[in-house]
């Protein structure tokens, strides 16, 4: 490495694996070229990185892997614009840049001893997947109670993390996985319906439990009242926010909601915290 990267300069990484999740979502596994960087990275579940695609600039992407899974990072990227388009054309063995980790993290210390009920919609399971795997890791499994994941996508083709949902997680101790798609499909034997109504059906009890929700704004909007109806308090409901970001350092200004910068004070907020902030996100 020619330089010692600091705040605005990225560390080189090499892509070691690419999984096609859907037609427009890919998961990239990467390793730092300098293994020492990984040793000192210290990423916590819920944090994000700035990915550098040279020639295109940078994008904020959640770390979707848990630090407990190994000396690599995973990023699940939806193709939506310039940078993500170029990224989707990259191949195993190619390099890009990563700086981070940024932002706060899920309150996994406070969650100790509790059951965790995860809700994810579309590819937005990505930011909470890190916490799911953290809580399910050999190292920390005994710190948490039952781990449930309720996940929905528009169609079978839109389901991300299929092997986690169908194979890896259900086999682990004290888990329950609920998967749904919006409309019936011939080959689909599972649940059909929208996420909010499926939550109502599964009806998790609020007792000794945290609900962790990530998904498109519309899904979140209709899911929150369901949890309220089930008796969840605002500080038992945790979600992550998205704002346009450039620096991730609390300096470029654009990700503010009132006096808070989502890039340093977020992206993880409890519903109780959100209710104390301007509705400008």
């Amino acid at each position: 490495m020619p330089n010692n990267p600091t705040a605005l300069t990225p560390y080189p990484v090499t892509i070691t694996k690419i999984v096609d999740e859907t037609s427009d979502v890919k998961t990239f596994t990467v390793e730092f070229d300098d293994p020492e960087v990984m040793e000192n990275f210290g990423n916590k579940p819920g944090q994000v990185c700035m990915l550098s695609i040279f020639g295109e600039g940078e994008s904020t992407i959640s770390i979707t892997s848990a630090p407990t899974r190994g000396k690599f990072l995973e990023f699940t990227v939806k193709r939506v614009g310039r940078l993500t388009n170029v990224m989707h054309q990259m191949e195993v063995g190619q390099k890009f840049g990563v700086r981070g980790p940024y932002g706060n993290w899920f309150p996994y210390e406070i969650m100790k001893g509790k059951d965790l009920f995860f809700v994810g919609g579309g590819f937005a399971l990505a930011p909470i997947r890190s916490l799911i795997d953290y809580a399910l890791s050999d190292q920390y499994r005994s710190d948490y109670g039952k781990v449930e994941v309720l996940y929905g996508a528009r169609s079978v083709d839109d389901l991300c993390f299929k092997s986690d949902l169908a194979e890896r997680w259900p086999k682990l101790h004290n888990t329950a996985i609920y998967t749904t798609i919006d409309r019936p499909e011939e080959a689909w034997k599972g649940h059909v319906g929208f996420v909010p109504s499926y939550v109502e059906e599964v009806a998790p009890s609020p007792e000794n439990k945290f609900a962790i929700i990530a998904g498109p704004p519309i899904m979140i909007k209709f899911t929150l009242p369901v949890f309220a109806k089930l008796g969840f308090k605002d500080d038992q409901i945790i979600t992550t926010l998205e704002m346009r970001m450039k620096c991730c350092l609390g300096k470029c200004g654009r990700c503010n909601i009132g006096s808070k910068f989502v890039c340093v004070d977020g992206p993880v907020f409890s519903l109780a915290q959100l209710k104390g902030m301007p509705q400008e996100y």
Binding site: P2, N3, P5, A7, N256, S259, P278
Partner: protein, 347 residues
């Protein structure tokens, strides 16, 4: 506090010497615009101004700044950062603009992450302020506890009194510079000039035209994000031109992007951005948390009057009056402050 005296007649000599020993940044006049840039000697400097069109914030946060050059081939990455900051002197900045720099410091130097580009320049620069000798009709620095002769944030503060400059030595950095040019910085007659300066400050304090009263404004904004006031026509006439943010010495928003220079090479740049542009918060997929002028105008003024205070316990406006002078549709922060004060009173 120590003080020195510099004969006005010796200022050219001082500036020429500084230009030789440092990167000397000073006010210059280009066409009709007064701005700050590096000069090669006293002849380039333009000190007969009251408030420059462009503030000196660019000394520390340049309008365009290269953070690194890259060479990228797909399977190799090389990153080369530009050389560190040179030793510099910022001469002739006005008190409001220097205070503004102190409000940028916690943004770039504070909290979790530093900023080597900003701090490198900040640490290597001696700031020599220049007191105002008159106030403009748009000035209102007094409203934020500033003043035309206030030395906050400067290493040395020059105040013009007759054929002399009274020089306040405010930091060790300033003292070291004054000591290094001891043949120009004398100590004789400083006591009398100190009194003269106080007189000048008192006189100028009475000359402000704009009465700005912040009573109750912060509290109002603390408790009310939604105010019918922001729906007013006056607030909605903003053109989104971004002028107010570019000229504002406390605005620090920037964009980061790549500028390819060849098939495999390019530079990463950061450049000033403006919260008044709709694209500023527009996300891929089309969602925009501040979709209309109303939200953007509100955000700018909330930032100045509340958010910056909440975060850094420092005002986000120093009353330089630039946005008041430059806005093409006369959106006026002093009017907004006074209006909000009334809203607070009637609440």
């Amino acid at each position: 506090m120590e003080a020195r005296v510099v004969n006005k007649g010796q200022l050219p000599e001082l500036l020429d010497k500084l230009a030789k020993d440092y990167d000397l940044i000073a006010p210059v006049q280009e066409e009709t615009v007064v701005l700050f840039r590096k000069i090669s000697g006293a002849a380039d400097a333009f000190l007969e101004y009251t408030n420059s069109d462009v503030s000196p914030k660019g000394c520390f946060l340049p309008q365009n700044e290269k953070t690194f050059n890259y060479t990228y081939t797909g399977d190799s990455i090389e990153i080369n950062k530009p050389e560190g900051a040179q030793k510099a002197v910022l001469f002739g900045a006005r008190p409001c603009d220097i205070k503004a720099i102190t409000t940028l410091d916690p943004v770039f130097e504070g909290e979790k992450f530093g900023d080597e580009y900003y701090s490198g320049k900040r640490e290597n620069t001696v700031i020599i302020g220049l007191s105002c000798t008159k106030v403009l009709s748009t000035c209102f620095c007094y409203a934020f506890e500033g003043g035309p002769c206030d030395g906050t944030g400067s290493d040395l503060l020059f105040t013009e009194i007759g054929d002399k400059y009274y020089v306040e030595v405010n930091t060790e950095k300033g003292k070291a510079l004054a000591d290094a040019y001891s043949q120009i910085f004398s100590s004789q007659g400083a006591e009398q000039l100190a009194k003269d300066k106080e007189e000048l400050a008192k006189k100028l304090a009475g000359e402000f035209v704009r009465k700005v009263d912040l009573t109750g404004v912060k509290e109002l904004l603390d408790n009310n994000f939604e105010l019918p006031y922001w729906n007013g026509d006056d607030q909605k006439k903003c053109l989104g031109c971004g002028t107010c943010t570019y000229v504002c010495p406390t605005c620090h928003c920037f964009d980061i992007f790549d500028y390819p220079t060849g098939d495999f090479t390019g530079a990463r740049l950061r450049c000033w951005d403006s919260c008044m542009y709709p694209e500023y918060t527009l996300m891929a997929g089309g969602h925009n948390p501040r979709p209309t002028r109303k939200e953007r105008v509100r955000n700018r003024f909330m930032h100045k009057l509340k958010y910056h205070l909440d975060r850094y316990n420092m005002v986000g406006c120093v009353g330089c009056g630039r946005c008041v002078r430059k806005c093409p549709v006369n959106i006026d922060i002093t009017k907004i402050i006074n209006d909000l004060k009334e809203v607070a009173q009637n609440a």
